[in-house]
């Protein structure tokens, strides 16, 4: 037999610690369909019972203002968990109980967990747990989840609910008689007239209708088929209520909930607030002068870690797959199958796994910063800088890590609670210049930008590089502005961010977070990346026997020495590339690239850059029949300097285009993974390509000749 329970609670209530403690590694992480909200499920065994735990998104309330809240209430009503475990931060009772009141309104069985009893103690809060439980009429379990205290008690209580049918349905009604009487009237109206309530409790629908909950109102109209009589009835009730209780029902209900909470807590809790460690730490890290330097220091470490510390691990993965390709290649005959296995599949898998070190390192640091409580402080310190862009402080870490690689950056947007802000950040990230674009810049700068100083101290090459990065940031800001103004119009979302107490991180939470992210990436994005990389391989490999201009086979046999043989081989490779599907695609898009001063060869190079931006350099090498380009690409620099297609303006244009054009093929599936739909990667492709073309066109035709001419 399998039973289902749900965990509900405020953000920062230690919900995930309890979820991890209950389920261990038996977790499944995904997305609720169509939204950016994460769905977490896990299992555990309870004396032969299989218990499925749904970890609801952390919310402060159950109203309809955010997708998280709508999903939380939908899951509770539609998936009908046996019992809802309401996790409460015992050091922050009043606000946490606001959600509890709303769960009570839903009329579902509840177990209350008072988590972080140690924090409450330190803060000078004494709770009479038995009395509280008596008053509420549901079990209340004190816990210190990160030390595992109270876990057994919780499990036993869950078992009692399931096996002994312990009734944990809240029965006490704490709200004023006047309100309850009116709610009752609305409820009877709904019960009598509604056609289909789809399992939603009528009392809850009545309360929400009084509160003016738009989702509930449209449900009552469309699904339950209540006509305008209901709205007339409702407005009469609202009028009576405001006459009796002196306020509109919407703010009134919030007040009544909080008054009820105070009544409940009045003789069950003693307050004696003391200054805590959090106050002392905050007075340093949020300090007027020290706040920013501390922020910069920590962010430098984060960036260093993702940018530099990951390199050796990425090299190991790279080298391993190169070795594996060669090793397995030894057993295969020269031909299509070998090419498919070595260049298609093995290098494709390597191309998926190579991003893992950055993802692991970034999520290690993010979990550490989140769990300790520094992350919201960082957002607090930096918010002012992001506000003019229409983003908030929470977008900083995702944007910063995107300079190393867009993939972990996009995955890090999960830390942004507000879904609109999350989408805006995801749309901005592709314009942040990742490290894979750097080889393209260095090649072109070395070839066309002279080593010279301006005003005695500024290095021109460095200045051009800096301008490229700044252009990326500028276009990212422009993108946010555009989408905020024209696409996500309507209600702007307020930035209200809790600064939770500092806490010691637990290894288990951090490890599980890293593990879940990696599994999600490999399972949900990895397969798609592999598929795209095999398609790319096909484009560059087929057709296998094009009509060649020279008889390379005979020429190779006639070759006198190694050098000439190499030369012929490279020429053959260049011609085969030109005649491959990718080459034909390059010709096909030439008319579009012509206005930018690019020809079909750059078309091929840019197509290959979709595999990974740095591949553009290697493809150029192949096009110029140089064979494999090594790190020292001086011969390539020589070649492109002599090519009439290139001049400083088109070279910088190419830099711009490869900066702004769509992100690499590994990024698109990650955008799908994080947004929950294919719509957003498509939007990104269309938007980035249009921006790349327009900006490059403007540069090559107007601005470039002016600046560099």
């Amino acid at each position: 037999m399998e039973i289902k329970i749900a965990l509900a609670g405020n953000p920062n209530s230690g919900k995930s610690t309890i979820f991890n403690a209950l389920t261990g590694a038996k977790q499944k992480v995904g997305n609720y369909p169509g939204v950016t909200v994460e769905r977490k499920e896990g299992f555990f065994k309870l004396n032969g019972l299989k218990v499925r735990v749904i970890d609801l998104p952390g919310t402060y309330s159950l109203s309809y203002y955010s997708p998280e809240e709508m999903i939380a209430r939908r899951v509770i009503v539609e998936e009908k968990p046996e019992v809802v475990i309401n996790i409460i931060d015992a050091s922050n009772l009043e606000r946490n109980f606001y959600l509890t009141m709303q769960l009570f309104e839903l009329g579902v069985p509840i177990i209350i967990v008072l988590n972080m009893m140690d924090d409450a103690n330190k803060k000078g809060i004494k709770i009479n747990v038995d009395k509280l439980s008596q008053k509420l009429g549901v079990p209340v379990i004190p816990m210190i989840a990160h030390k595992g205290k109270g876990l057994e008690n919780l499990k036993k209580t869950i078992e009692k609910v399931i096996k002994d049918h312990l009734d944990t349905l809240p029965k006490n009604s704490f709200y004023p008689e006047e309100l309850l009487a009116e709610v009752k009237k609305v409820e009877s109206f709904i019960v009598q007239k509604a056609q289909n309530l789809s399992g939603y409790p009528p009392k809850w629908l009545a309360i929400k209708a009084l509160e003016g909950d738009e989702e509930v109102l449209s449900f009552l109209k469309k699904k339950a088929k209540l006509n305008d009589d209901f709205l007339t009835f409702l407005s009469e009730v609202k009028k009576r209520l405001s006459e009796k209780l002196g306020d509109d029902p919407e703010p009134l209900l919030a007040e009544i909930r909080y008054q009820t909470i105070q009544k409940i807590l009045f003789d069950t809790v003693e307050w004696n607030f003391r200054k805590t460690l959090t106050d002392r730490i905050d007075s340093i890290v949020c300090h007027r002068f020290f706040g920013l330097p501390i922020f910069i220091l920590i962010m430098t470490i984060v960036f260093q870690a993702v940018y530099n510390w990951s390199t050796p691990f990425m090299d190991i993965i790279d080298n391993f797959f190169t070795w594996l390709g060669e090793y397995i290649g030894n057993f295969l005959n020269e031909g299509l199958l070998k090419s498919l296995i070595v260049d298609g599949i093995i290098s494709g898998v390597g191309g998926v796994l190579v991003f893992l070190p950055q993802i692991l390192i970034l999520f290690f640091l993010i979990s550490l910063l989140e769990d300790t409580g520094y992350m919201p402080r960082a957002a607090f310190v930096v918010d002012r800088l992001l506000k003019p862009l229409g983003l908030n402080g929470k977008s900083f870490v995702p944007l910063l890590s995107s300079f190393a690689c867009n993939i972990p950056g996009i995955m890090a947007t999960r830390t942004i609670e507000n879904h609109k802000q999350r989408l805006l950040t995801i749309l901005a990230i592709p314009f942040i210049s990742c490290s894979a674009r750097l080889p393209v810049y260095t090649l072109l700068i070395a070839a066309f930008i002279p080593q010279k100083k301006i005003w005695g101290f500024l290095n021109l090459q460095g200045l051009v590089l800096l301008s490229i990065y700044l252009t990326g940031i500028l276009i990212a800001a422009l993108t946010v502005f555009f989408f905020r103004t024209f696409i996500f119009r309507g209600k702007s979302s307020p930035f209200l961010m809790e600064l939770p107490p500092y806490r010691f991180p637990t290894f288990k939470n951090i490890f599980l977070q890293m593990w879940n992210r990696s599994v999600l990436y490999i399972r949900k994005a990895g397969t798609l990346i592999l598929a795209i990389s095999i398609i790319m391989w096909t484009l560059f490999t087929f057709p296998t026997n094009p009509k060649l201009s020279k008889d390379y086979q005979t020429l190779k046999l006639q070759a006198k020495d190694e050098k000439i043989l190499n030369q012929i081989e490279n020429e053959e490779a260049a011609e085969r590339l030109a005649k491959s599907y990718a080459g034909r695609f390059g010709h096909l898009i030439e008319p579009i690239l012509k206005p930018l001063g690019f020809d079909w060869r750059l078309g091929i190079a840019l197509t290959s850059a979709f595999a990974a931006k740095e591949v553009l350099v290697a493809t150029l090498g192949q096009i110029y029949a140089l064979g494999e380009v090594t790190d020292d690409n001086s011969s390539l620099v020589e070649k492109i300097r002599k090519d009439p297609i290139f001049n400083p303006v088109t070279a910088t244009g190419l830099m711009l285009f490869s900066l702004l054009m769509m992100p690499c093929m590994a990024t698109l599936p990650v955008i799908r993974l994080e947004t929950g739909s294919f719509r957003w990667p498509i939007v990104v492709v269309v938007w980035t390509l249009s921006m790349a073309w327009l900006i490059t066109f403007f540069w090559v035709r107007f601005l470039g000749p002016l600046v560099l001419g």
Partner: protein, 97 residues
């Protein structure tokens, strides 16, 4: 510490105009009583859900290093709120400059 809960703190007095000020104007360290939340719809609801109810006390802890947002303490927890949102919260000074 500010805002230790007492029952029935929601005593609604008619706000006297001259004593009213915006939360965003309050200096660090001041303790204030909420008189009114002037915001509309979503923001008002959000603020009320987070505990911004008339009659309740809150404490302004500090400004962010770049002056915005501000950190406040309400019902014993800490919250960052931008000045553009704090503008809608009308308060009366209890303690501090």
């Amino acid at each position: 510490m500010a805002s230790a809960p007492h029952v029935a703190t929601f005593v609604k007095t008619v706000p006297k105009e001259e004593k009213m000020l915006c939360l965003k104007e309050c200096t660090e360290g001041s303790v204030v009583k909420i008189l009114k939340v002037e915001a509309k719809e979503t923001l008002k609801k959000r603020l009320m859900e987070l505990g911004f109810l008339p009659g309740r006390h809150l404490k302004v802890i500090r400004n962010a290093p770049l002056k915005d947002p501000i950190e406040i303490e309400i019902m014993g927890y800490l919250l960052a709120i931008r000045k553009s949102e704090a503008e809608y919260i009308l308060v009366e000074k209890i303690k501090g400059r």
